[in-house]
């Protein structure tokens, strides 16, 4: 029988100090019963974040409102935070801490798993090589998503990242001839109610709800639970991928809210802040989420991550996108400029990148000309931007003939290649054909990133 501790010796934000709790172990879960002034009892959960022989500091997930020094009873469970997992989770909705909130009752757990997970041994990892077709030209063509990759969407407030995520979820499919079951784990962290509803509705309409597990921590839900939301989601994803052999796509939105929750807690713990007030361990903490993507040798499932973050003030050097970019395998950056031009999806091509793309495209995967075409599109579009800068000074009329062709290329690249409908699903073949159509608008000598052999085959129609 575990000991129970009456009362507290201090309360600061969501943190409470329990005196004399030498039984407590680091990181374990505590249950706190709280007697309200009207005599009713409330149960709360918390986690030990520091412990010494004299006292334990517990972070209360639901917050400390209503707590006083003398109205609580704390019990230490001796276990880290665990999530009950089973295949039944598919189609269900949970709150940020993994409790069902769809009114369908608890699931029958296959097992209970520590939500913190363990790092995958680099030796046991399988290098990701197979692409996921999203049906979106800018992504498939230029920043191909690979199974087992972590590829975030860097967006800004007001931009259509949610629509893009939904479109990816709806259209995502594996290469031909692969019938491994496909599941989606959706983690909402501090998102608005209507955004959460939009996702739920979209999953429903596309008939995907049966293969989606949702973890919802909304903007007005407890901040501490926000820290747990992605951990629960990834624990569920790992279970489905590595024990039920499914390919799992994890959509996490919004990482910015998650990092802000982390900062809020860090400052209430009185930790020394580093850049912009975020804790010094923000990198390690984000890595403990992102690195849970991957594939393992000898198992057929995979965890692919599509985190979404809104860059504060559209600033890509802000610590959250910055540290994310250092951990993830590339990024898809949305551009306000394209968005204002009415281009959907407003994928800013030059800073977007998929690091794993080079090993998962080309012959045997997509089509043999894909790497060269992608490279050439980048190079040509980079040149378009230089020429546009020049044109804004000297005027378009003064440009050389060659430069004018580039300006034309730039226009049609944005209007035909980047732009596509919310429900438009383009095949890889179609994306590449479109690319060639645009490249043919440039003189053959200008295509210096494509080999003569490929040009001979594709340049002339």
């Amino acid at each position: 029988m575990a000991l129970e501790y009456m009362g507290l010796s201090g309360i600061n934000g969501p943190l409470i100090a329990v005196e004399g709790a030498s039984e407590a172990s680091y990181d374990e879960i505590a249950e706190i019963r709280l007697k309200n002034s009207d005599g009713s009892m409330v149960k709360r959960t918390g986690q030990v974040i520091a412990v010494s022989k004299d006292k334990a500091i517990v972070q209360v997930f639901e917050g400390s409102s209503g707590m006083a020094l003398d109205n609580t009873v704390t019990k230490f469970t001796g276990k880290p935070l665990e999530l009950a997992v089973s295949k039944e989770m598919l189609g269900r909705v949970f709150d940020g801490a993994g409790r069902p909130i769809d009114g369908l009752g608890n699931i029958m757990p296959e097992k209970r798993v520590d939500v913190n997970g363990s790092p995958i041994n680099p030796v046991s990892r399988e290098y990701p090589r197979n692409f996921i077709q999203t049906g979106i030209s800018s992504i498939d063509g230029l920043a191909t998503l690979i199974r087992g990759q972590k590829l975030p969407i860097f967006s800004g407030s007001g931009m259509p990242h949610d629509n893009l995520a939904v479109q990816i979820v709806r259209q995502a499919r594996l290469a031909e001839g692969n019938d491994t079951p496909f599941a989606i784990v959706f983690a909402a962290m501090g998102v608005k109610n209507d955004v959460a509803n939009y996702f739920r509705k979209s999953f429903e309409e596309s008939g995907a709800l049966g293969r989606v597990v949702m973890f919802m921590n909304l903007a007005d839900d407890p901040v501490v639970e926000r820290i747990l939301t992605p951990k629960c989601a990834l624990t569920a994803a790992e279970y489905l991928a590595f024990e039920c052999d499914m390919h799992v796509l994890v959509v996490m939105t919004d990482i910015t809210s998650y990092a802000e929750a982390l900062r809020e807690l860090s400052s209430s713990k009185g930790e020394i802040p580093s850049r912009k007030g975020y804790p010094g361990y923000l990198y390690s903490d984000l890595a403990s989420l992102y690195e849970r993507a991957g594939m393992i040798k000898g198992r057929s499932g995979s965890v692919t991550q599509l985190p979404i973050l809104t860059m504060p003030n559209d600033d890509i050097t802000h610590p959250i996108p910055d540290l994310t970019g250092y951990i993830t395998e590339g990024q898809i950056v949305l551009s306000r400029e394209l968005f204002l031009k009415g281009i959907y999806p407003p994928v800013s091509v030059l800073p977007s990148l998929s690091r794993l793309m080079k090993d998962g495209i080309g012959e045997g995967y997509t089509r043999e000309d894909h790497p060269e075409v992608g490279n050439q599109l980048f190079a040509a579009y980079a040149k378009v931007n230089d020429i546009r800068a020049l044109a804004s000074v000297i005027g378009e009329d003064e440009l050389s003939e060659n430069d004018k062709l580039y300006i034309e290329f730039g226009k049609s690249f944005e209007a035909e290649f980047l732009k596509q409908g919310v429900n438009e699903n383009r095949s890889m073949e179609k994306t590449l054909e479109l690319a060639w159509k645009l490249l043919r608008g440039l003189p053959r000598e200008e295509l210096d990133r494509i080999s003569t052999k490929t040009l001979d085959k594709y340049y002339e129609v």
């Binding site: 198992r299 250092y326 980079a382 020049l390």
Partner: protein, 587 residues
Amino acid sequence: MNKGEIYEINGPVVKVRDVKGFSMMETVRVGNDGLIGEVIGIDGRDTVIQVYEPTSGIKPGAPVIGEGAPLSVRLGPGIIGNIFDGIERPLTSIEGKYGAFISRGVNVPLLDETKKWDVEIIAKEGDHVCGGFVIAKTQETPAITHYSMIPPNVEGRIVEIRENGKYTLNDWLIKIKTADGMIKEIGLAQKWPIRIPRPYDEKKAVNMPLVTGQRVIDTLFPIAKGGTAAIPGGFGTGKTMTQHQLAKWADADIIIYIGCGERGNEMTQVLEEFSELIDPGTGRPLLDRTVLIANTSNMPVAAREASIYTGITLAEYYRDMGYHVAIMADSTSRWAEALREISGRLEEMPAEEGFPAYLPSRLAGFYERAGYVRALCGKEGSVTIIGAVSPQGGDFSEPVTQNTKRFIRCFWALDRELAYSRHYPAINWINSYSEYKDELDIWFEENVSRDFSTNRARIVKILQEESSLMEIVKLIGSDVLPDSQRLELEIARVIRTGYLQQNAFHADDTYVPPKKQAKMMELILQLYDMAKRLLNMSVPLSVIKKTGVFDKVASVKYDIPNNKPEMFDSYKEMIERAEETIKEEYK
């Protein structure tokens, strides 16, 4: 043996109260699982310990046992070709014992203790030996011979010796009697504390380049064997890619690749690629000369701090055998952040951006372990350090980049603009520098080409000229420039696309020997001189361009295979012919 119990736990930092016997830097075992930790501070009543594994579930009152020695690695055959975590535990053994996920309290031998090595004894009975003396020889991998040495601090007379034969790491090979009459057994392996540099006889001046086969590095910003370099760059600029290229092609005998706080998939990629790629020097898979140390970004942060030291200690060990070793540390920023995280937990007073005030001295201590030395055994060896830096927001004014700059002599600045236009390696030729240039010129002139440094100087001048002309071009376009200046731009374009840009995925272009680099430079300059002469005859640049020579020279990197240098002659003739034809027309 010291024993205490835990008083307080805060993340990876654990305190023991009222126990006196622990010493600084001593290795300890924490809790019932025996997690590995290290004493990092002793303050009145409290002994502060950093733990190299997650501390979840540990309770105050759990035992802490001192091992009486500082954190050490085991040095012996079996290191090369292996992949370790931050404190030299082999990841393959961990996988074998614990499965695909790394659990806590991992307990595996540091090196394979069961394998029997074929040992040839070199030492003789009666020899008086001291530290560094080679006692035995083992073929560690087909590419590397392992020399077992007397540990640096040991001296004495050999009193007993074993026959040549098969021995494990735990067997003794010789016994020596030290000055104070003690008998010491010495075998294939030894231990060394990671934070203490291994001694050598003499540090020598550097005068040999580490040839990397990367044109922008070898030609413009060369690094010496025994030198130090930093590769700073924001994310997506190709730090890791550049490190991989160097690890593959640098002409070091041994490569130690430290993945410090980086991606798991990258380590997998290195493992996979390096077992398949063949080293042009030895004809064996690259893995036969490579050691990998992996502390991925989700592995414990304290071990990240140690991983850098583990790597450099392994490097020094092979240097002591007379090998040239190159270390790639990717990324030192993660190591600095690990320092900051631990420092924060200790509630130390922060200096810049929360980094501890001792960041510069730690960086200096690390980079100073590089060098070209005469080892204790009398042979010459070197340790070259190439550290990636991941500046926050790609801003080079942040503390880690700035402090690193003070202790390195090669600075390869990666540039986001170049990376965005897919110019790789994205090393900016204006912001980068190498202080080794002058020291290495003699080598390049003697071994590569007599004009190497003069030609390089001309190339640099053209690039600088271009960068100042570009300021004008950005405002008014290139059409208004006179032909002489447009020629500079045109030649600079040939240098950028045909020389500095290098394709890591092209069979020939991925590695280019210095001789071919020199020839390519010569060809570009020949073209430049020829065009200049024609411009002086008032031939318009457009006429010269029409001959196609510029594009031909720019694609020499693909069109002339590395093993056919004689093909350069036909290109020379082509340029001469073009000149003659135009001269005829404009006479």
